[in-house]
Amino acid sequence: MNSILYYPGCGVADQARSMETAARGALGALGWEMEEMERWNCCGTVYSLATDDLMRHVGPARILARVQDAGHEHLLTLCSMCYSTLKRSERFLTEERDRLDRVNAFLDDEPDYTGGVRVVHLLELVRDEIGYEAVEEAVQRPLSGLKVSPYYGCTLTRPRAVGVDDPERPRVLEDLLLALGAEPVSSPQGVECCGAYLTASAPEVARRRAGAIARAAARGGADLMVTSCPLCQYNLDTRQGEAPGASAHAVPSLYFTQLLALALGADPAVDEQVIDPRPVLAARGLAVEVKA
């Protein structure tokens, strides 16, 4: 069994538990184990884009220092926001010595972070370490005939230097879906933002975005959409139905970990959702149960 240190993040540790349950089961089927960090704090979710805002890097630096202190080189995330914030912070802090020194001086209750921790998204681990061939071999319940629209959102692929794939023409989700036997339906809205945290300050914006993303997926004939971020999932699932006149074409969405688990014969941990994904799964011969 291979093992990798894992950072859940607040969303996954709370509302998006299903993302983690499914990932654990799927990785187990692939011979990998996620070892959760002992103590962790919020990464800050939105990376600070300012040059002088060092305080916003304290959270990520604290996490990275603890990873390093525990003797680990890699840190796995499932959530794209955590992935991006941690990875960008790691780069920001280590590309200029002065920034790292100042943050370390402030963090006098942690061992110094010296750089070098590699933040890894689960999609990277599957693609680069495990490999799609191994995934294909492990498939027990091929997702044959299931048409899935990959929804990348923003932080998984942007900015280019940090993203797991090309920001304009990513294919990591398509490739994974192919390995699982599903039929990827790429969408022109697949890399366009869901409204992100504006869902809190301007929910109508998130409604419009979720509606546009779902309509594009439906036009491509998708049964469902697949996401890699609890916030995308929330907006697509909750805000989509709130958009005026959207309910007739509601397209459900699942985390990529849930489809992975489903195909590998592990628990896909399908929770109660606003837009129930079970009917479309059942229609493709992939009935799943919702746990009470």
Partner: protein
């Protein structure tokens, strides 16, 4: 929208443009106003100024940009960043404008008024960080 873009010398503040440049690490003068950022922006329809117009005001050193709504409609999705032919990270300019407003105590949201529904942590932390001083 357009009447806000006055080219009067009286409003020019090179100092303001430099401050935005310092905070964002982006030279606003690289922008040649092609408009590609706004064309692909998923939030352009809810902005009072297009992203290139925000950049124009910054180029002109017009501090009125601090009162614009556009930076608060930007979700830092970076669609503009990957598409800008001049390599301007426009999201960073938006962040700098937001921060300059926030640091003067101007905030577009009151945290207490977040709707009572159960929002994901990412959303609440996101607006806390992007929109509260």
């Amino acid at each position: 929208m357009a009447e806000q873009l006055r080219l009067a010398k009286a409003v020019l503040s090179v100092q303001f443009a430099r401050r935005v440049e310092e905070l964002s690490g982006q030279s606003p003068y690289r922008c040649y106003q092609c408009g590609k950022c706004g064309a692909g922006c998923p939030f352009a329809d809810s902005m009072d100024l297009l992203p290139n117009q925000v950049l124009r005001l910054v180029q002109l050193g017009d501090e009125k940009v601090l009162e614009a709504g556009a930076p608060w409609s930007c979700a830092s999705c970076l669609a503009c960043e990957v598409r800008c032919p001049r390599g301007v990270d426009i999201a960073k300019v938006m962040e700098a404008v937001r921060l300059l407003a926030l640091r003067k105590g101007r905030s577009p949201v009151a945290l207490g008024k977040v709707p009572g529904e159960r929002l994901p942590q990412i959303a609440v932390v996101g607006i806390s960080r992007k929109m509260t001083p």
